[in-house]
Assembly symmetry: C2
Homo-oligomer: 339 residues x 2
DNA sequence: GTGAAAGCGCTAACAT
DNA sequence: ATGTTAGCGCTTTCAC
């Protein structure tokens, strides 16, 4: 004779066992100071004996807040995001909020479901580290709870953002490569990824500024390993071979690197390569990728700060934090081979 | 005049607007078929007009189940875990469960908090991809909800597990290296990480089987990049230099690789190197690490299957899935240099 | 088919 | 300092 749903001890069971009211138990569980030491002990003992655990679901219902920050994570496999999460969790912990993560495998449909889940779960605020999702879904969410976008600029009044200045970052890359003597600099873009269009535009503009209009070449890619591989493949399949490739992010640059190696092209001897993000991957000795740094954990912390300002200090005007990017030169860039 | 907590439309608001009872709205929202088409339309329109979103908190409270699978994730930065998550999410989605993740930065205190959070949130079942947490905390959790351990063997009746056979995996590594001609094979272990002790023991036993007792050398490390670096540093600081190193996992092997490079040792020319897990990292062309494969997504799927068996089919006896490991030979192992 | 009513486990006034 | 009471927003009998 089993029940489908086993009952766990409730506040009432504890109250009965301790011989007090349930308000008493509630007070004790929440660490109230104005309760007599003796009662506190009684309650704690009863709770312990029963294996009582407060039901956050019930608490959230009555308090109408969950004390949870919901994070929509576009791509669990991209170190950029996991490093942003580090900052989010650290800051959330400091402010005694819990963080819960829903991931999305880089598909906008999955991101929308993750968003809906978090909204139904009544997360108090949302942090979207999620390039792909459509802006109007985000706008609708922001009508319900504070929302902040990470690594994707926003100009909406309702939605905060913390991002880096992508066009400037792209320009740093082009400037660096031009200074090394490169002229045929191609760009494998990030497809629909957040900031991809801005990086691409920055690249084009910088190329033009250097009078290299004729060498502008943008190849469609994505923010993944595979995107980089295919971008390089497409790049080498036709047209004059460039001497340098600026890939939309580190992960894709890694794919590009593998693809180049498989085709017998050495980096940087035959081809210079630059990524974006400065993830831990780029710093790995055997990869040693020249890239553009975004301060990932700091961006995570700021994201939390922004939504909590709306939540606890009722800020209603938007804040958009734009971080200046920084070039990190490593081993994948060099002067082009003399022809 | 603002309210501290903005009110969102409830089922009652929708009912009022649609001119029906809230039971009606409830039926419609849950897609019941026995409600007249006209009413359904009315309700749906009202809901849409109000921007109504069902409150999962309230639903969970009354249903006494949340339809959520809680995942405690030890280390977001280790691709092994994120690849396990892929499988978890895929299977959960197939069974229409939602997945929520709490991470723990590889500290057992953080893991315990993640566990508590998920339990208070009343996740219907728990998947622990969490090496460090103490067994008795897990045991207590398993009294409340079904729990499955991933990548960490369990022999408890109350706790399921899906793991690979670590001693055998370690033996595969030693056999491979011995076959290449290595004798001085050292092991940088995984510290307190799950399976670390078993891998280490497997290494020792395999070495003994090959009559290499005298060359057994275990250096303390951890399942991180840093663990591998320090392990190599310690290894080279004293004693006779080995010709091969078996590192506890891929992430640590990557750290080991960097450390070796910085000391001017070439892999595999001067030193063979083997990792464990066969994460995507190991497959990266510039890393090309010889390692032991664990079928990560499949393990994730099985973990979900196991807890759902307990949840929906009331299985009460334990199931412990042990997966045979498989050696993946890549570019970091070769015959030792002739001396 | 639809509505009324009784909770789910907790917190937050309000009494005392 | 402690108990009583009225919900939080929903699902679920049970009537009609």
């Amino acid at each position: 004779m089993r029940e489908g749903i086993p009952r766990r001890p409730t506040i009432i069971d504890v109250a009965a066992k301790a011989g007090v009211s349930k308000s008493m138990v509630s007070l004790v569980m929440r660490g109230s100071s104005d309760v007599r030491e003796e009662k506190r002990r009684l309650v704690l003992e009863a709770a312990d004996a029963l294996g009582y655990r407060p039901n956050a679901v019930a608490r959230s219902l009555v308090r109408r807040r969950t004390n949870m920050l919901g994070v929509v994570l576009s791509d669990l496999h991209n170190p950029f995001f996991t490093e942003v999460i580090d900052g989010i969790e650290a800051e959330a912990e400091d402010r005694s909020y819990r963080t819960i993560i829903c991931t999305a495998s880089r598909q906008s449909s999955a991101e929308r479901r993750a968003l809906d889940t978090l909204l139904e779960l009544r997360a108090d605020a949302l942090i979207l580290a999620s390039p792909m999702i459509e802006m109007d879904a985000i706008a609708r969410a922001s009508a319900e709870v504070p929302v902040v976008l990470v690594a994707r600029p926003s100009d909406s009044e309702a939605i905060d953002s913390v991002a880096n200045d992508d066009p400037t970052g792209a320009a740093l890359v082009v400037d660096h490569l031009v200074a090394l003597g490169h002229r045929r600099i191609a760009h494998v873009d990030g497809g629909g990824g957040a900031g991809a269009a801005a990086r691409s535009a920055g690249y084009v503009q910088a190329m033009q500024r250097h009078g290299l209009d004729a060498h502008v070449r943008v190849i469609p890619g994505s923010y993944t390993d595979e995107g980089g591989r295919q971008g390089v493949a497409a790049l080498l399949a036709s047209g004059e071979r460039p001497t340098a490739i600026f890939v939309a992010n580190d992960l894709a640059a890694l794919g590009a690197m593998s693809e180049l190696a498989e085709r017998g092209l050495r980096v940087p001897d035959d081809m210079s390569l630059v990524g974006y993000d400065n993830t831990s991957l780029a710093a790995v000795r055997h990869i040693s990728l020249t890239t553009v740094d975004q301060p990932r954990p700091q961006m995570g912390r700021q994201a939390v700060t922004l939504v909590l300002e709306r939540l606890t200090r009722d800020r209603t005007t938007s804040r958009h934090i734009l971080i200046p990017p920084r070039l990190v030169v490593r081993g994948t860039t060099a002067a082009p081979a003399v022809r």
